[in-house]
C-alpha cells in the first residue's frame, strides 16, 4: 500500500513537472506575454503564436511564456539582461507598455529594445450610462470645462495610465483648465468600470472598445466618441471625436519587440514574417473577432512611431503632473 501511494505521489510530481516543461521552451520560438494569462498581451502572444504556426512561418509551435510583473517591467529587465541577442524571442507590448517606458517606470530606456511591428489596435472610447443626461461629447466637454470636478470618471488604468491620459487629452483639447481636478477612479478592467457606471458609482468611462462591446450592443451604455481616425468597422454609427471637432485619437495598439542586440538580418526576417501574418485572413479574422482594428506599422517606420508616441506621452504626463 505504501508503495502504491508513493508511486501515485511520484506520478503527480511527474505530471506537474511535465506540465511545467510545456511552459518553458528549449529552443523553439518563444513569445513572452509580460502578464498573467488572460490579459491583452497574453492574447497577442497566443494569437500571433497560433497564426505563425498555422501559416508555417515558424518551425513547430510558438511557446507562450507568461512573465507578469511591473506592467511589463520584469520581462523587459530579463530580456535586457539575459537574452538581448536571442533571435527566437519576441515579446508582446502595447501603448500601455510604452506609457510605462515614457514615464520612466521600466529599468532601462526605450532604446534598449528593437521594436518589430504593430498588428492591430483597440480603439479608445468615452462612454456614459444609457440613462445619463449627457447626450453628446460636446455636453460632456462643456460640463468638464465648467467644473472639472463635477463628474466622476474612471477606467481600467490608474492615474497617469493610458485610459486616464486619453480622457485628459480630450478635456485638454476642449478647454478644461485644471486637468488635475478631474476625479479619476481606477478599476481592474473596462467591464468592471462599466458595471460600476451602470450601478451609478461613476458617470463617465474611458477605456478600450474591445472589452466593453457587449454593453454597447445591449444598449446599456452610450458611447459618446470613438478616439479613432475612422469609425470602428463593427460600430459605424458611433461618431469619432474628430468628426465632432475634437482632434484626439487614442489607440491601444498591440505589437512586439525583440532584444536590442538581435542582428539586422534576424530583425528584418521577423518584420517580413509578421507582415505576411498581418496580411493573412487568419490574423484579420482573429483580430477583428477580438474587437481589434487591424493596423500595420513595421520595421523602421514602427521604431520611429514608438519613439514619437513615447515623447508625446512623456510630455502629457509632465503636463498633468504624473511625472516631475
Amino acid at each position: 500500500m505504501k508503495l502504491r501511494t508513493l508511486t501515485s505521489m511520484k506520478l503527480g510530481a511527474a505530471l506537474a513537472a511535465a506540465m511545467t516543461v510545456t511552459a518553458v521552451p528549449a529552443s523553439a520560438t518563444e513569445c513572452i506575454a509580460p502578464s498573467n494569462p488572460g490579459g491583452g498581451w497574453d492574447f497577442t502572444c497566443r494569437t500571433i503564436g497560433r497564426v505563425l504556426g498555422e501559416l508555417g512561418l515558424v518551425e513547430g509551435n510558438v511557446q507562450v511564456t507568461n512573465m507578469a510583473g511591473g506592467v511589463g517591467a520584469v520581462a523587459f529587465a530579463m530580456v535586457a539582461a539575459e537574452r538581448p541577442a536571442d533571435e527566437d524571442l519576441i515579446v508582446a507590448t502595447s501603448t500601455v507598455g510604452v506609457t510605462q517606458m515614457a514615464q520612466g517606470r521600466y529599468p532601462a530606456p526605450l532604446e534598449t529594445m528593437r521594436y518589430l511591428a504593430m498588428l492591430g489596435a483597440d480603439v479608445g472610447v468615452i462612454a456614459v450610462d444609457n440613462d445619463s443626461p449627457i447626450m453628446t461629447l460636446a455636453d460632456l466637454t462643456a460640463a468638464m470645462a465648467a467644473d472639472p470636478s463635477a463628474l466622476v470618471t474612471g477606467g481600467s488604468s490608474g492615474a497617469g495610465g493610458w485610459d486616464h491620459i486619453r480622457l485628459l487629452m480630450v478635456a485638454d483639447a476642449t478647454g478644461t483648465e485644471d486637468l488635475s481636478a478631474i476625479r479619476w477612479v481606477q478599476f481592474d478592467g473596462g467591464t468592471d468600470a462599466v458595471t460600476q457606471m451602470m450601478g451609478g458609482q461613476i458617470a463617465v468611462v474611458s477605456t478600450d472598445m474591445g472589452e466593453i462591446a457587449g454593453f454597447v450592443e445591449s444598449g446599456d451604455i452610450r458611447v459618446l466618441a470613438a478616439l479613432s481616425d475612422e469609425p470602428i468597422p463593427a460600430f459605424p454609427d458611433i461618431p469619432t471625436a474628430i468628426s465632432q471637432g475634437v482632434d484626439v485619437t487614442g489607440y491601444n495598439w498591440r505589437g512586439l519587440y525583440t532584444g536590442g542586440q538581435v542582428s539586422d538580418e534576424a530583425y528584418n526576417a521577423w518584420v517580413e514574417r509578421l507582415e505576411t501574418l498581418y496580411n493573412s485572413d487568419n490574423w484579420q479574422e482573429a483580430a477583428t473577432s477580438a474587437g481589434l482594428v487591424p493596423i500595420w506599422r513595421g520595421g523602421a517606420e514602427f521604431e520611429a512611431f514608438v519613439r514619437d508616441q513615447a515623447a508625446i506621452m512623456e510630455q502629457i504626463s509632465r503636463d498633468i503632473g504624473v511625472i516631475q
Binding site: 500500500m1 505521489m9 494569462p37 492574447f43 481606477q186 451602470m198 457587449g214 445591449s218
Partner: protein, 505 residues
C-alpha cells in the same frame, strides 16, 4: 418552466460523447491539481488553454473542460489541507483549521467525506442559483459600489480575531502582518511602487500562493528537519479507511449555511472563493461553537468552509458570464479564453449563445456528480497516504511545491520568496502564532485597500461616502452586532467557567 426546457436543451449539448469525455478528464485533472500544494486552478486552466486551441474544440466544449478543471480544483484543494495541514490552494486554507485536527484524531476518512459532500452541496446550490437567477443576480450585484465592498471587508476583518488560535492578540498580529504584506508592490491607483526596494519582481506584489506554500509547506519541512532521526514522529493513527454516514449527516445544516454565505460572496465580482470560505467558517463558528470545539476538529468547521468555497466558485461564474467581469484569477483566464474564441461574455450572452450557457450549466451539474463519485472512493486511497512516513512524504511535497510555484511565474525570485516565507512560517509556528490570518490578510487586504481608495477617489476625499449607502450601513450594523455578540458570548462563557469553578471549589 422555461428554465427547465433551457436546461433540458443544455443536457443535449452536454451529453455528447466528446463533452462527457472532456468533463471527466477535467474533473480528474482538476482534483489532482487542487490536491497538490502550489498547483491550482490558474495553472490547470492556463495549461489546458493551448490544448483546447490545438484540438480545435468549439467554445462550448472548451468551456466545459476548463470549468470542470476549475470545479475539480475546488474539490481537490481540501485533500492536502486535511491530510498534511498544507492548503492545496488559497480557498482551502480555512479547511486546515478543523480538517487537520480531525485527521490527527484518526478521523481523516470522515473529514474527507464531509468535505467532499460539502463541496458537492455548495457547488450544486451555486449551479442551481446560476441556472435560475443569473441575470437577475448580476443586475443586483452592480449596485455594490466601492464603499460597500469596503464595508464587506470590514465585516470580514472584524471577525478575523476569532478564527484561530488561543490568544486573539497573536491572531490579530498575524492578520496585521498579512495586511502589511498586501501593500507591497505598485499601487494600482497612483502607479507608485511601495516597499519594492527597487526590485522589479516585487512590483506586482507578493503572490498569495507563493506566501501560502512557503508558510505552510516549507515551514512544515523545516519543523521536520529539526526533529532528530530517532525522535521521528509516529504516523498518524487511522481509525478506519472508509467514512461513516453517521458522521456526515449531522453537518447538513452547516453545509447549507456555508453554501448560502459562499454563494453571495461569489456573486459579488471582486469578492471570490477565499472570502466565501472564510465568511462561511466564521459564521458557522459564531453560530455553533457552543462547546468551544471549533479549531479542535469540529466536523462543522470542515463542512462550512468547503461548501462555502465551492458555492463561491460557482457563484463567480455569474458575473463572469452575464457581465463579463471576472471575480477571480481563474475566471479572468476563462474570460480571456472565451473572448479569444469569439464569444463575448456580457449582457447579451444568454440571448445570443444559449447553447453555450445552458450546455455549460448542464455540464456543471454533471461535473458535480462526477466529482462526488470520483472523490468518495478515492478517500480510502488518500487515507492510506497518512501511513506514508513523513520522511518519505515531505520531500515529494517539497518537490511538487517548487515545481508548482515555478510553473506559475517562471521566476526564481518567487522560489526564493517562498523559502523566505517558509522561514517566517517556522518562526511563527515556534511562537504559536496561527498562519491562517496572515494569508487572509494578504489575500483580502489588497482588495480592501483598493475598495477604500476607489471610494475616496469618487468622493474626492470625503469620508462620509463610506456610510452613504444603505448596503454599507447594513454591513456596518452587522459588523457591530457580530462583535457585540462575540463579546457577550465571551463574557457569558467566562462567568460560566467561574461559576463551575466555584461549585467545584
Amino acid at each position: 418552466m422555461e428554465v427547465l426546457s433551457l436546461i433540458g436543451s443544455g443536457f443535449l449539448v452536454a451529453l455528447t460523447p466528446l463533452n462527457i469525455g472532456l468533463l471527466l478528464m477535467g474533473c480528474f485533472v482538476g482534483t489532482l491539481l487542487g490536491a497538490l500544494p502550489g498547483l491550482g486552478p490558474v495553472n490547470g486552466v492556463a495549461v489546458l488553454i493551448p490544448l483546447t486551441f490545438a484540438f480545435g474544440f468549439d467554445p462550448t466544449s472548451s468551456l466545459i473542460l476548463l470549468c470542470a478543471v476549475y470545479f475539480g480544483c475546488m474539490y481537490g484543494g481540501r485533500i492536502s489541507s486535511i491530510l498534511l495541514n498544507i492548503p492545496g490552494d488559497e480557498p482551502a486554507i480555512m479547511t486546515t483549521l478543523d480538517g487537520y485536527p480531525m485527521a490527527v484524531q484518526g478521523q481523516a476518512a470522515n473529514a474527507l467525506a464531509i468535505s467532499g459532500v460539502a463541496s458537492f452541496v455548495g457547488a450544486t446550490i451555486a449551479v442551481i442559483g446560476l441556472s435560475l437567477f443569473a441575470p437577475v443576480l448580476a443586475r443586483a450585484a452592480i449596485h455594490f459600489g466601492p464603499a460597500d465592498y469596503f464595508a464587506l471587508y470590514i465585516l470580514a476583518f472584524a471577525t478575523i480575531g476569532g478564527i484561530a488560535g488561543v490568544d486573539p492578540r497573536k491572531t490579530l498580529l498575524s492578520a496585521l502582518i498579512g495586511l502589511m504584506l498586501a501593500t507591497v508592490g505598485i499601487d494600482p491607483i497612483s502607479g507608485v511602487p511601495r516597499y519594492t526596494m527597487d526590485n522589479f519582481h516585487l512590483y506586482d506584489g507578493i503572490q498569495p500562493i507563493v506566501a501560502l506554500v512557503g508558510l505552510f509547506a516549507i515551514s512544515e519541512i523545516l519543523l521536520l528537519l529539526e526533529k532528530s532521526a530517532k525522535d521521528r514522529p509516529k504516523a498518524i493513527k487511522v481509525d478506519r479507511w472508509m467514512p461513516q454516514w453517521s458522521a456526515i449527516w449531522p453537518t447538513r445544516w452547516a453545509m447549507l449555511r456555508g453554501s448560502g454565505v459562499g454563494f453571495v460572496a461569489g456573486v459579488l465580482p471582486g469578492a471570490g472563493a477565499s472570502l466565501g470560505s472564510f465568511m462561511a467558517y466564521v459564521f458557522e463558528k459564531q453560530k455553533s461553537n457552543g462547546k468551544g470545539t471549533f479549531g479542535k476538529g469540529d466536523p462543522r468547521g470542515v463542512a462550512a468552509p468547503e461548501s462555502g468555497n465551492n458555492a463561491a466558485a460557482g457563484g463567480a461564474l455569474i458575473p463572469m458570464l452575464s457581465l463579463g467581469v471576472p471575480g477571480s484569477g481563474t475566471t479572468a483566464v476563462l474570460l480571456a479564453m472565451l473572448i479569444s474564441l469569439n464569444v463575448q461574455p456580457g449582457p447579451l450572452l444568454f440571448e445570443r449563445q444559449p447553447d453555450l450557457v445552458w450546455g455549460l450549466v448542464a455540464s456543471l451539474y454533471l461535473a458535480n456528480i462526477a466529482l462526488l463519485i470520483l472523490n468518495l472512493p478515492m478517500i480510502g486511497i488518500f487515507t492510506r497516504l497518512m501511513m506514508t512516513p513523513t520522511w518519505a512524504l515531505m520531500p515529494v511535497v517539497a518537490a511538487v511545491t517548487f515545481v508548482g510555484v515555478y510553473g506559475i511565474s517562471n521566476s526564481i525570485f518567487d522560489l526564493e520568496l517562498m523559502v523566505f516565507f517558509g522561514i517566517i512560517g517556522y518562526i511563527m509556528r515556534k511562537l504559536d502564532i496561527s498562519l491562517v490570518p496572515l494569508v487572509l490578510g494578504l489575500l483580502l487586504g489588497g482588495d480592501m485597500e483598493r475598495a477604500l481608495r476607489r471610494a475616496m477617489s469618487i468622493s474626492d476625499g470625503d469620508w462620509s461616502i463610506l456610510i452613504a449607502s444603505p448596503i454599507s450601513i447594513t454591513l456596518y450594523v452587522l459588523t457591530v452586532g457580530f462583535l457585540a455578540l462575540s463579546v457577550w458570548l465571551a463574557v457569558r462563557d467566562h462567568k460560566q467557567t467561574q461559576a463551575e469553578r466555584l461549585t467545584e471549589g
